[in-house]
Subunit: 77 residues, 2 copies
């Protein structure tokens, strides 16, 4: 089974990577880009029967820095 | 309006970041993690009426290195 985890900086935490992308898009002539936030996506290939609680534990222990990052989990059978 | 772009390394391209995460999860006692791929997620806050074609152009020109990365776009009103 597969799980996909999104890890994004929390609102209010400065995101210099996203800001750099926004600036570069402006420089390439793309108007109307009001904001950009960049985060990570982690695709996990897991043994069948792994619970969402286990993936939550992985996020808390390793995948996200919960002080400054939030995460969301999508489980796919 | 918002758009979300996922950028992942193409299948077959070595992903040392993902491999490091897989190894670290094993070290923390999480069994059954068969594979991990890590990519980027970019959330764009765009002017209303921006088309998906424009976002595709952003991906081709800046957001993804299409030689080794694939991307997917989700548009949200």
């Amino acid at each position: 089974m597969k799980a996909r985890v999104h890890v994004m900086l929390k609102t209010g935490v400065l995101d210099p990577q996203g800001e750099a992308v926004r600036h570069a898009l402006g420089g390439l002539g793309f108007d109307g880009v009001e904001g950009v936030r960049q985060g990570k996506v982690i695709e996990l290939d897991l043994a069948d029967g792994t619970s969402e609680a286990t993936v939550t534990e992985m996020c808390e222990k390793l995948l996200a820095n919960t002080v400054i990052e939030s995460y969301s989990i999508e489980m796919n059978a």
